[in-house]
């Protein structure tokens, strides 16, 4: 860690009068094991480095920002960075709102998502996790033909941010995950698939059996799936899919979209944007979340950010730049890679518990649809217009019971409308690998598209 801080300081110290300089530097050690057919297909052991330099030239008509980055700490490469960022800044247009983060007095929590077990665990034991996932999946049911790939991965990262504005922070984290995708023979000669993943700060907390069982169950429940006819059933989302949809919503509440008019929620603060049973906030200070972090991408303390309270929009996720444009203060929500400027976003989305759970939602439902897979989120969601249209597979619900499985269908609606049409928010909160803590939900008014028109 000292090495990182020293490297960052050595560049920041070379700042000239009239310019602000920030250096963000990181180092990660990564292991990845891919397994197929009981054998190790590949084993990757690697260390990567990254350094990003931001220069802001100050002048009376505004500030101009330039960036440079490199994937090496070699002296000849690092030596070019400051001059290159400075040169880039010369070509930017003045912006009064561009500035480095100033320490804002919010205390930094002692969150330290780190496990020594990661470094201590042998490569053989890591391989054993991936092998165990695949073996458990193959043993779970005779209809499992194989697994496409079973993966164990981990990383151990350290980072530092130093700036002329008085920021000097370090951070570190470990993370481990394992996943698989199983292939299951269907009665019609086709193939169904099921995937699952588990993630944790420590590899000792991974549950290979759970990953295998979930992947197999998810594939088996789709056996015999057919294309449905078009309908508008109530849609039941288990926590992982509710988190996907609410993650899209949180993305539409990011300050950069707001100040540039790229979200339908830009001028809706204080208004009812969702059903009153929805309360949602971003809380990276929750140490048990996999999105927990002590500081954001500009070195400010992470903090709880209210987003939606009983359906009313509380506010947005801001970094320093978007907050200054909006005339407010950073919410400590800057996300950052060394390769670019910070931009605001969520880390640990939390939904307040409502009532009921997935099973009770299904039992109460006459005509419904339980989502089991979403496809094409990147091509089917327009965060500016709010239109959503995705590929979907799942199970129809009839008379309170799970009925026929379906595939090759679409699910479509408009995100602002969907929020208002939330019919149930469960109490079955689940912590998800992406860092969110979300319960099951029911949304009405969506179109399930299939055969016919």
């Amino acid at each position: 860690m000292t090495e990182l801080i020293d490297l960052a300081r050595s560049i920041v110290e070379r700042a000239e009068d009239g310019e602000a300089v920030e250096v963000c530097v990181g180092r990660a050690v990564r292991t990845e094991v891919r397994v197929h057919g009981g054998d190790v297909e590949s084993l990757t052991l690697a260390e990567s480095r990254g350094i990003g330099v931001r220069v802001i030239l100050q002048s009376p008509d505004g500030n101009r920002e330039g960036l440079s980055h490199a994937g090496s700490f070699d002296a000849d490469v690092v030596g070019e960075l400051l001059a290159e960022a400075r040169d880039n800044a010369e070509f930017a247009e003045p912006d009064p709102h561009v500035a480095l983060a100033q320490p804002d007095g919010v205390p930094i929590t002692g969150i330290d998502p780190w496990s020594d077990a990661l470094e201590q665990m042998s490569v053989d034991d890591k391989i054993a996790i991936a092998i165990a996932v695949e073996a458990a999946a193959l043993a779970a049911d005779t209809r499992v033909r194989g697994a496409r790939t079973s993966v164990y991965g981990d990383s151990r990262s350290e980072s530092a941010i130093v700036s002329t504005a008085g920021i000097e922070i370090t951070g570190r984290s470990t993370g481990a995950s394992t996943s698989t995708m199983v292939l299951i023979d269907d009665v019609d000669g086709g193939t169904r698939t099921g995937s699952a993943v588990d993630a944790a700060v420590s590899p000792l907390d991974l549950d290979p059996q759970m990953v295998a069982d979930r992947a197999v169950d998810r594939g088996l429940q789709l056996l015999g799936a057919r294309q449905p006819t078009t309908a508008r059933p109530s849609v039941v989302l288990e926590p992982r899919f509710a988190a996907t949809i609410l993650g899209l919503v949180a993305g539409m509440l990011a300050g950069d979209r707001v100040v540039k008019g790229r979200t339908p929620f830009a001028d809706r603060v204080g208004h009812q944007i969702a059903a009153s049973m929805l309360t949602m906030f971003d809380d990276p200070t929750d140490a048990d979340s996999l999105g927990a972090s002590s500081t954001d991408g500009e070195g400010l303390a992470c903090r709880l950010v209210p987003l939606v309270s009983s359906g009313a929009l509380d506010g947005f996720l801001h970094d320093c730049h978007t907050a200054r444009v909006a005339g407010s203060a950073s919410t400590g929500s800057a996300l950052r890679s060394v390769r670019g400027t910070p931009s605001p976003g969520h880390r640990a989305l939390h939904v307040a518990a409502g009532g009921g759970d997935l099973a009770s939602f299904v039992a109460d439902m006459d005509d419904g649809f339980l989502v089991a897979g979403l496809q094409g989120l990147h091509s089917g969601v327009n965060a500016v217009s709010g239109d959503l249209s995705v590929g979907v597979e799942g199970i129809r619900i009839r008379g309170g019971e799970l009925a026929e499985p379906i595939r090759e269908a679409t699910l479509a609606g408009a995100i602002p409308r969907m929020l208002l049409d939330i019919a149930r928010v469960g109490a079955d909160l689940e912590r998800l690998p992406g860092g969110s803590r979300v319960p099951s939900m029911v949304i009405d008014g969506l179109t399930l598209g299939g055969a016919g028109s």
């Binding site: 084993l43 930017a92 217009s385």
Partner: protein, 463 residues
């Protein structure tokens, strides 16, 4: 990029634990980009990534390590790590002597982007911004992005191969937001080629910006898309994404070998309508998915995958081809030196048909006309795929009528291939794409003439 003797020593070190095959991949990539958003040039970035990835193969297992340290010690450390990861049981010394192969580079780059003044690059952004905003007062937001990269690679392996390439790409895109009574709509245009700054001799950024603006404005009047199965006509260039997802990924030999593709074991069979001939061609000079050598040192290939509806071959990487005792097809690619190569597409296209494109539309009683496609996604094991439509219209009584809101279409690859019932004679390449697989992105191109699918499921909200 590295001395031949150092390469030989590194490969020998990689083989000390008894590996059957070792490879050194060296990359030195410089990139620069500039963004104009909200009326202001705001983000100029320069990047440099340099390092080496070393892999060692023992039996079915590949060991891989990478390093940003290109010194003798750095390379030896990575070579030992990769060797240890591959866990060869043997030992001893194996001499390696690599020798360079001649590589046909195609057309040389005329204007290296690194020799173009930053002010000139920034000037393009301003031109695009002004042109888009001039398209109508309903255009409320414009962002434009310029990017270029120069990627020098060297590949050497224990089979004695040594090859180098110098890949220069230039990209420009414009995105607009239009605001109307019905809310916000977006329009996007992009141009990207594996060439230098001469891209802008053939690409008028103001014209691109006006097209992007027009697209957003048109969609302000869009009706909800239909929901359900209808005939779909895809305009020239656009359909490439459809084939990329419907069968391209399913023809990648690594997925085929794991029986994770619906096309496994079907070479020689009829898999598509007679009119379909599908080609993956990395040799198409200047196209976005072009290169001289792939990331395993094989020359780019022109590979026919489906001929007149019959599946003729898969796409191969070097290792899988080597195991099968056949020649690789030049499809081994990786995102960077930090990634293992795998089978990837290059420029994938459907060759020209014979139908008159206007007649294809006129012959469609009712359906959807897709003028621009977004990205897509496929589950190769089931064949189910989706792709987005970012500009689309209704076809009513054989005529293109109202614009419809964007959304996804879903289909099953093997079924859709047999349902291509018209293929135009107006072939065009589509927009530059980034293809993602197992977390790695690589640039790919695609192309098609106008075509019609007898029925596809459109993911709209209208009954």
């Amino acid at each position: 990029m590295l001395e031949t003797e150092l390469i030989n020593r590194t490969l020998s070190t990689a083989l000390t634990t008894g590996g059957e095959f070792a490879e050194v991949f060296v990359e030195d990539k410089r990139s620069s980009s500039a963004v104009l958003d909200d009326g202001r040039v705001e983000e100029l970035t320069s990047g440099r990534d340099r390092g080496a990835g070393i892999r060692v193969v023992v039996g079915e297992t590949t060991g891989f390590a990478h390093t940003a340290d290109l010194s003798e010690e750095g390379l030896a450390g990575a070579a030992r790590a990769a060797a240890a990861a591959a866990r060869g049981g043997g030992g001893g010394v194996r001499e390696v002597n690599v020798s360079a192969i001649d590589v046909s580079r195609g057309t040389p780059v005329r204007i290296p982007p690194e020799e173009v003044a930053k002010a000139t690059k920034v000037g393009l952004l301003t031109l695009a911004n002004e042109a888009a905003r001039g398209s109508g007062s309903a255009i409320t937001q414009v962002s434009a992005r310029y990017g270029d990269s120069r990627r020098r690679i060297l590949v050497a392996n224990s089979d004695g191969l040594l090859a180098e390439d110098d890949q220069i790409r230039t990209l420009f895109s414009v995105s607009c937001v239009a605001t109307g009574d019905t809310g916000l709509q977006t329009g996007r245009e992009s141009a990207g080629r594996t060439i230098g700054f001469e891209l802008f001799d053939e690409t008028d950024v103001e014209e691109m910006a006006r097209r992007a603006a027009e697209r957003a404005l048109t969609k302000l009047n869009a009706r909800p898309a239909p929901s359900g199965s209808v005939p779909v006509v895809v305009g020239p260039g656009g359909g490439g994404v459809l084939f990329h997802e419907a069968c391209g990924h399913g023809l990648e030999a690594d997925l085929v070998a794991k029986s994770a593709s619906v096309f496994a074991g079907r070479v020689g069979e009829k898999v598509a309508a007679d009119c379909v001939t599908l080609i993956d061609d990395g040799t198409m000079a200047g196209e976005w998915g072009h290169f001289a050598i792939d990331d395993e040192g094989r020359p780019a290939g022109n590979n026919i995958l489906i001929k007149d509806g019959v599946l003729t071959d898969y796409m191969w990487d070097y290792l899988r081809a080597r195991k099968e005792g056949r020649v690789g097809s030049g499809n081994g690619r990786r995102q960077s030196y930090q990634h293992l190569p795998m089978v990837r597409m290059t420029n994938t296209y459907i060759s020209n048909g014979t139908d008159d494109p206007a007649a294809i539309v006129a012959d469609t009683e009712s359906g959807v006309y897709v003028a621009q496609l977004g990205g897509g996604q496929v589950n190769t094991a089931t064949g189910d795929f989706v792709f987005g439509m970012t500009e689309a219209y209704l076809i009513e009584n054989g005529e293109i009528t109202d614009p419809i809101r964007e959304g996804n279409l879903i289909g099953n690859g093997p079924e859709v291939l047999t349902r291509i019932d018209a293929l135009g004679n107006d072939f065009a390449m589509g927009s530059p794409g980034m293809c993602g697989k197992d977390g790695q992105g690589v640039p790919v191109g695609d192309g098609t003439p106008t075509l019609r699918v007898e029925s596809l499921t459109v993911g709209g909200t209208a009954a």
